[in-house]
Symmetry: C2
Subunit: 393 residues, 2 copies
């Protein structure tokens, strides 16, 4: 039985493209039932887990209870405002489809409101975007917003010039893309500057209010603020009742079993698994995907033959971040790529990774179209729960 | 200046495909700014008109005011519950993108809830869909839901069989598709029956509650009820202060001018324009589109040369309704088509009518894909304002 509170599997690496009107939700969200259609011994349940009892081997979903023999927790990560949850209402994160649509709505409304505003100061505020956090998500989002305003929207307004939008990327650490080699961080910062993004490193956020970010001793009035600075494990991890690390993750062994609990496994972003050198594996999609394949096979083998599984070994497929329209940085450890070749590699790999042939074809066509025309079609402003009240002005 | 409360132009004839998870909102909603990008003397304003003062020639949008020389009202039609507005909360209409997404969410949640329900009576209720109104919208929606449950969802559940879903189409009049020749109505009713839709004619709705429709002296418990029975002109028509007909429409002359008001024109579904025989033109997209083209040209000619325009003449392009996967009825007046040829004609014409080449290509591919595989990708359940509270169970 697979329990999920959504009825779709979300391909998170492309969420920023939904937030910037380049793709539609259905392009990156595959119905779970369709993915498991052929797996006749697997039941899919739409529901939210509210309690776990590892003694009775039971899971609670509201009033309902499910009994298990083996429990695998793979609920991923969620936003973390580093102790400032009150910032969330002003600066949404980009972790779910709703987040992406809320950010898209706020972004597009900024330009609509600036177009009709008669107050130059208010116009300047509305046309300032602050992205907080210089990891891959923040870099990709800032680059994609820069292209949206400088190309797609450039000729669509009569009173304002969207191309003049200020886009500021704030990074508290000494450089963006800190997990990449320094040369690639430098390259990405230069590319972003070329797209018109102001990259500010060593710049920690002090406060976020409804209309401004305070950082570096100054106040930056902004129309849209996005939080891309922190993640923590899903709250589901807390329900196990075992100790978690500072990111809220459950420690799991090299067989992904949770120590001290019988028949409980954890993987992906809510688990902390160490590599053979004792270093925790990074919170990447490729780690989670390899762990899922590994655990499926090792549990099947254990049930069928009673075999003790080989320990999980992570195979690094390379780390990538997109910097605008046809540029990316890729780190394969020994080899590093950047620029157009890196971007092309990223595009091919990501289309391949999308679940479902139809999505692959549709996304490939939309990217090719966008590449040639700079156009983006998913620009509908609709009322969203979570967006500031009503989407309409 | 073009004022709209949405930032997109909605292609309403395909709304039912969004409601049944076949297309995404962005496939049928083109950003207005993009459509008018090349029209540099046209300003686009996102806003809702709240007052019209034809004496001062002013339009109010909340606190803002715009002065006009010429005013064209083309705000279309909205739902009408025929005096029973309290039914709306239980049986949504299909007039806007939000409506379509709310219906999609309710429909998909019915199956999710039926799958986990242990109460056979409740399961039967959840797996009953009632569509109220047998015009083209109701017929198209019922046919598309039938295909969704019998093909797309058929193998996706383990405990319930979506193919067993009851779909009931209620028509108060003596036959569905009343505006078509009787032979086509009969054909459509037979095709729907073949798809598993129960067509009930001469069956007026007496009441709608949270979980049932009362009609024909009986109560039909249902998981989803959709209202496709009535439309009326946009409330904007009332703001002019002139007399409107029983559908709330403004009478406009053969030059589309509103009698008694200087510089005010009305067209499309909120206007009542008579043909040369004195019969009101039907509320069809093709009427509105021809009127728009006519008025644009005649106003330009009047301004440039002062010429009095020729009266508007409607050219009937034929009336069409889709009945399931590869069948349609088309009425050209003298010629009538039905079956596969009619469907193919419909598909080609509707792809052509979609605004924007990208939409044409994307929709064509999705239809071809769906035709071969029966698959539908836009099945994401997301919280919607207006859907019953939370989308999650």
């Amino acid at each position: 039985m697979l329990i999920d509170r959504d009825n779709f599997h979300l391909f998170q690496p492309l969420l920023y493209q939904v937030a910037t009107a380049a793709l539609s939700p259905s392009d990156i969200a595959e119905p779970i039932r369709r993915m498991l259609r052929g797996q006749e011994n697997c039941e899919v349940v739409l529901g939210e887990v509210t309690a776990i009892d590892t003694q009775k081997r039971q899971i609670g979903m509201g009033a309902e209870t499910v009994t298990y023999d083996i429990l695998v927790l793979a609920a991923g990560a969620t936003r973390s405002y580093l102790g400032h949850d009150e910032w969330e209402q002003f600066a949404p994160s980009l972790k779910t489809l709703e987040d992406a649509l809320a950010i898209r709505t706020r972004l597009l409304l900024c330009f609509e409101r600036a177009e009709t505003s008669r107050n130059p100061q208010e116009q300047a505020r509305l046309m300032t975007v602050v992205v907080i956090g210089g990891g891959p998500s923040g870099v990709e989002l800032a680059g994609s917003i820069a292209e949206l305003v400088r190309h797609t929207l450039a000729k669509d307004f009569r009173r304002i010039s969207p191309a003049a939008t200020r886009i500021i990327l704030l990074e508290a650490g000494s450089r963006i893309l800190a997990e990449f080699p320094e040369a690639l961080s430098r390259y990405a910062a230069q590319r972003l500057a070329g797209l018109g993004v102001e990259v500010r490193e060593n710049c920690a956020v002090k406060a976020i209010t409804a209309a401004a970010v305070q950082a570096d001793g100054a106040e930056i009035p902004a129309g849209l603020m996005v939080w891309a600075a922190g993640v923590k494990a899903s709250p589901l991890a807390q329900m196990l009742g075992v100790k978690t690390d500072k990111h809220g993750r459950i420690a799991a062994g090299s067989d992904l079993a949770v120590a001290g609990l019988s028949g409980v496994y954890a993987l992906g972003d809510l688990a902390c698994v160490e590599d053979t050198m004792g270093k925790p594996l990074p919170g990447l999609a490729q780690v989670a995907k390899q762990q899922g394949t590994y655990l499926g096979r090792s549990l099947a083998a254990k049930i069928e033959t009673g075999a003790t599984p080989m320990p999980f070994a992570f195979h690094d497929r390379g780390n990538v971040a997109i910097v605008g329209r046809h540029s990316a940085v890729v780190d394969f450890g020994t080899i590093q790529l950047r620029g157009f070749a890196a971007w092309l590699l990223w595009a091919v790999v990501h289309i391949w990774l999308l679940a479902g042939l139809q999505h692959r074809v549709l996304v490939a066509i939309q990217w090719a179209w966008r590449y040639v025309t700079y156009d983006r079609g998913a620009r509908q402003i609709m009322p969203m729960p979570g967006a500031d009240g009503s989407a309409r002005p």
